[in-house]
């Protein structure tokens, strides 16, 4: 048992699962009951996550650890732990779950399956963030695919089934190679130390103190398996093609997309597992991965510029943000990793808010094509202001959260010997381009003359309140980023220290 005296982390994983089972047991027409269960469960879980942030000691290493043997004779454990890095990912996941429910508040079809699947998705994401046992992580990592694919298939429009198949199969292909790599890593560790374990702390510790030494070719091959899985999941160019297609097929209200942007486990896994296990290979591959990251930033910005479907535009914006995350992670510096962490949080907050905004617009107009809108500001000024702040946050205007994350990521890339200023020079162009496509969308939709009939009216109070809360979070992080870094610093610097110690 951990220092709290109660299994906080298992509660975080288990609460949504119990909620999903309860919803599964309700009659399919008991709509308000399903809704109530989902809301109670997701808010309770968010409260647990906030409690975790406050109860966390600003130290390196895992806290609130729980560990139970799962399949003892091969060293498999149910082991979860929380530190200054994953606490933020868990908080984001628990906060965005109610947001996804909120976005779908007016949907009537497939309500039961929607609520249950969102909760299952939430539980598997939280599990993936918290798992310290490698195979347990893989279990949760794969489990996220099933509810999301089902959400796309049941809720989606257009060719939702094809999109869902692609959504499932593409990341699955990546992760089976990771499974082979996990087997290779665990077997190598077993052969050299005589200990059969999947414990990520023990394995990365063995890499750090030299009890596990891999042949460079083997290390690179194993790293490639992890990299493929995480690069597809993140996604970065050229492994991104499943994502815009999936987001084009999801419902207009943005609920599934909000759930989808929770899928930061690719970048998280890269940081938490791929780097500490294979520091030499990561350093060796960093320049090439940096180039992929920069291409991701530029390519998706250019594609986003030409998009008329606002949801697809936002999905390219996400890919662009994740390019910065990758750049920060592979800089392997404290600045870069902190920047990557903050950018992951930002991408969740701002893109989540933007999906909600597009959902509100689409609900009033029945279209999410930006050409179908103009002059929204004239009839809905408050909504327009909130949208403008969110857009600025997404672009990276100083004073808002986006700036801090992107700046730190680029600073880290500049400082890193394996990357350098050339990467930053090109990445900066990406910021300019993101200003171009987001402001162009904003100008087209919110500026100009309002149409004579069917003008967009202000959203109702609850909608404005939810967006305002997100905007407040953006401003707070922008002005006072140490709210995150004070908790994450110890963990990030410990991680970076171990990376530099074992790779040199």
């Amino acid at each position: 048992m951990n220092q709290l005296g109660f299994p906080l982390l298992s509660l975080l994983i288990g609460t949504p699962l119990v909620g999903a089972v309860l919803i599964g047991l309700t009659a399919s027409n008991a709509r308000s009951l399903q809704r109530t269960i989902a809301w109670i469960v997701s808010i309770a879980n968010a409260a647990l996550a906030i409690y975790a942030v406050t109860a966390m000691q600003p130290l390196g290493g895992y806290q609130f650890i729980e560990s139970v043997d799962w399949l003892a004779d091969i060293g498999l454990k149910y082991a979860v732990g929380m530190d200054g890095i994953n606490v933020w990912m868990v908080l984001l996941a628990t906060l965005l779950t109610p947001l996804a429910l909120f976005a779908a508040r007016n949907e009537q079809t497939h309500q039961k399956s929607f609520h249950a699947l969102i909760l299952v998705l939430s539980a598997s994401l939280i599990g993936a963030f918290l798992a310290t046992d490698l195979l347990l992580f893989y279990v949760f990592f794969e489990m996220t695919l099933v509810p999301t694919a089902l959400l796309i298939a049941t809720q989606g429009s257009g060719d939702a089934k094809a999109a869902a198949i692609k959504f499932f199969v593409y990341p699955f292909v990546g992760s089976v190679f990771m499974l082979a790599s996990i087997a290779g890593l665990v077997v190598s560790h077993f052969q050299q130390t005589g200990l059969m374990t999947f414990d990520s702390v023990i394995i990365s510790g063995a890499v750090l103190n030299g009890t596990l030494v891999m042949d460079p070719n083997l290390e690179r091959a194993l790293f490639a398996g992890f990299f493929l899985a995480f690069a597809i999941k993140t996604p970065i160019w050229p492994f991104h093609t499943w994502m815009p297609q999936a987001q084009a097929a999801t419902p207009n209200n943005g609920s599934v997309d909000i759930a989808g942007i929770l899928l930061k486990i690719g970048a998280y896994g890269m940081l938490r597992f791929a780097l500490p296990f294979f520091p030499h290979a990561a350093l060796w591959a960093a320049p090439a991965i940096g180039i992929l990251a920069v291409i991701s930033i530029l390519y998706s910005a250019v594609i986003a510029f030409g998009q008329h479907d606002m949801k697809v535009l936002l999905s390219y914006a996400t890919i662009s943000h994740l390019g910065f995350v990758m750049l920060g992670i592979f800089s392997q510096t404290i600045e870069g990793v902190t920047g990557a962490l903050i950018t992951m949080i930002n991408s969740g907050l701002t893109t989540g808010a933007l999906f909600l905004i597009v959902g509100i617009l689409a609900a009033q107009r029945g279209s999410r094509n930006r050409d179908d809108f103009s002059g929204v500001w004239l009839t809905a000024p408050t909504f327009g202001t909130l949208t403008l702040i969110t857009v600025f946050a997404s672009i990276g205007v100083p004073g808002l959260n986006g700036f801090i994350g992107e700046f730190l990521s680029m600073q880290g890339a500049w400082l890193a010997p394996q990357l350098g200023y050339a990467y930053v020079t090109f990445a900066v162009i990406g910021i300019v381009l993101s200003a171009a496509y987001l402001l162009r969308m904003y100008r087209g939709v919110y500026m100009g003359a309002a149409p004579e009939a069917n003008a967009i009216h202000e959203p109702n109070r609850s909608e404005l309140a939810v967006i305002s809360l997100l905007v407040i979070a953006m401003i707070v992080i922008g002005l006072y980023p140490s709210i995150i870094t004070s908790v994450s610093n110890a963990s990030v610097s410990e991680l970076v220290r171990s990376l530099t110690a074992s790779s040199h």
Binding site: W70, L71, A72, D73, I74, L135, Y138, V139, F140, E142, M143, L145, V146, A149, L150, A153, T154, A160, K161, A164, I165, F168, V169, F172, V173, V176, F177, L179, A180, I182, A183, G184, V186, V187, F190, A221, G225
Partner: protein, 476 residues
């Protein structure tokens, strides 16, 4: 005249086999008294016999008897349990599905018991003759079962095809046994192991014999390139029979292959390149060709071929410390999962004789949510998605081959599993999209019970693998 000395028999070693064959024989008589429309009584009696044999497992004695031809040990216990479990579930399914289709006969259950006896004999066989006897008993019963939907043409055709191919495979096996006997002068596995020729023509004869036996068993478990019969027979046979043979004969056939590999000991490396080649071909051909199938039963036939390749990987890995755990766990996982998938297909078929296609799964969620959930679990487990039992099986197999030093095979397995994911997920998502006008499928109490048992098993064993892996480990 010299006296013929009969070898002593320890009946407690062959307790399960005695129960199964004995009750099959008695049932054959009792069945004559049961009226044609009451054949579910025969099913019930066969089920009782199977469960009795299952319970008798832990009471059997470990040891070897009948002039060293039949053995029983802790790994036999788990394999026998898997086989008997599969039989029990298959009887439950068959008594519902065969009745609905109007092809229920008392013989069905008796033949299933006889086939089960053959499987147990294969699993317990410790001499080449017992292995051959087991395989033939199992096969002959299955030939009849495949053709039991008389006068349905597809079923007759499948039965004939299976018989001809099976006889062909048996020929290889007998010739292999003859060569091995010629080279070593004995049929008992443990004695062969001690007498493997090290040089000369005998060594060539010996390994030719082993190779031919592999071909013989390869037909039975449908390794590529001996798999051609599988899709046709799986499609043509009545679905309860397909379900039964897809698990039972595969488990039993693989246990025989494992026995051969274990017998070779360190000499197994002579045939390991052959095994690797077979495993790679089987995994890839099975999972790639399945993509192109629209018939559900054909798709599952190719899927079962692909899974045979994975089991063979586990067999390759079993030469190392991890032992028999990986292949036996994989077989158990496969049994649970395949029974669930075929169980759902049988329920969907109902009284319909038509071969179901992918299109029939469309919109299943809107009319049969529970069946959909079970099928979804089965498909996820076949694809190896956690937290199902199929995932752990796949992982154990991959780490076993990696541990044996065949890292590249783990990569090939990853490729095969990536190809396979496509058709499993396509089938899975079909059930959740669109709506269908077809009537709700209904299952009676017997097949509902069977479906529930296997569905719970897929999740429970996936989450609590120690429940069966401890037993498999004990077989080291």
């Amino acid at each position: 005249m010299a006296q013929i000395a009969l070898p002593g028999i320890d009946y407690m070693v062959i307790l399960q086999i005695i129960i199964v064959f004995g009750s099959a024989t008695v049932l054959l008589l009792i069945d004559l008294l049961i009226p044609a429309n009451q054949k579910r009584i025969t099913a019930l009696l066969a089920l009782v016999a199977t469960i009795a044999a299952l319970i008798a497992g832990p009471y059997s004695h470990a040891g070897i008897t009948m002039a060293n031809t039949v053995a029983f040990g802790s790994s036999t216990l788990i394999v026998n349990s898997i086989i008997l479990f599969a039989t029990a579930i298959s009887i439950l399914f068959a008594s519902d599905a065969m009745h609905k289709q109007g092809i229920e006969r008392g013989e069905t259950y008796i033949l299933m018991l006889l086939a089960t006896g053959g499987m147990l004999l294969l699993a317990q066989g410790s001499s080449l003759i017992t292995l051959f006897l087991g395989l033939e008993l199992l096969s002959i019963a299955l030939y009849v079962l495949t053709a039991i939907a008389y006068p349905r043409l597809a079923s007759e055709e499948a039965g004939l095809k299976y018989l001809i191919i099976g006889a062909f495979g048996a020929g290889f096996l007998v010739f292999g046994i003859a060569l091995t006997f010629g080279a070593t002068g004995t049929l008992v596995l443990s004695e062969i192991a001690a007498r493997i020729p090290t040089t000369g023509i005998e060594r060539g004869m010996f390994f030719t014999g082993i190779g031919l036996m592999l071909v013989g068993f390869g037909y039975k478990v449908s390794l590529v390139p001996f798999h051609m019969w599988t899709p046709d027979v799986y499609q043509g046979a009545p679905t309860p029979v397909t379900s039964f043979m897809s698990v039972g004969s595969k488990v039993a056939g693989f246990i025989a292959i494992i026995a051969l590999v274990q017998m070779l000991g360190p000499e197994a490396q002579v045939i390991s390149p052959v095994l690797m080649g077979l495993a790679v071909l089987t995994m890839l051909v099975g999972s790639i060709v399945a993509i192109n199938q629209t018939s559900l039963k054909r798709m599952l036939a190719y899927s079962s071929i692909s899974h045979a390749g994975f089991v063979l990987l586990g067999v390759l890995g079993s030469t190392q410390a991890s032992g028999l755990r990986a292949p036996i766990f994989y077989l158990a996982a496969y049994t649970l999962t395949n029974l669930a998938a075929f169980g759902v297909i049988m329920t969907l078929e109902g009284s319909n004789e038509r071969d179901l296609t992918l299109a029939d799964l469309r919109g299943l969620w809107s009319r049969n949510p529970w069946l959909t959930a079970i099928m979804a679990l089965a498909l996820l487990s076949l694809a190896g998605v956690p937290p199902t039992v199929g995932f752990l099986g796949k992982f154990l197999v991959i780490s076993a081959v990696w541990q044996s030093g065949y890292a590249w095979l783990a990569v090939v397995a990853a490729f095969a599993s990536a190809f396979a994911a496509f058709f499993y997920i396509r089938a899975l998502l079909s059930m959740f999209s669109g709506t269908s006008e077809a009537p709700r499928a209904t299952a009676n109490a017997r097949s509902t019970l069977a479906l529930l048992i296997v569905a719970v098993g897929i999740i429970a064993v996936g989450l609590m693998p120690w429940s069966i892996s401890a037993l498999a480990l004990a077989g080291n």
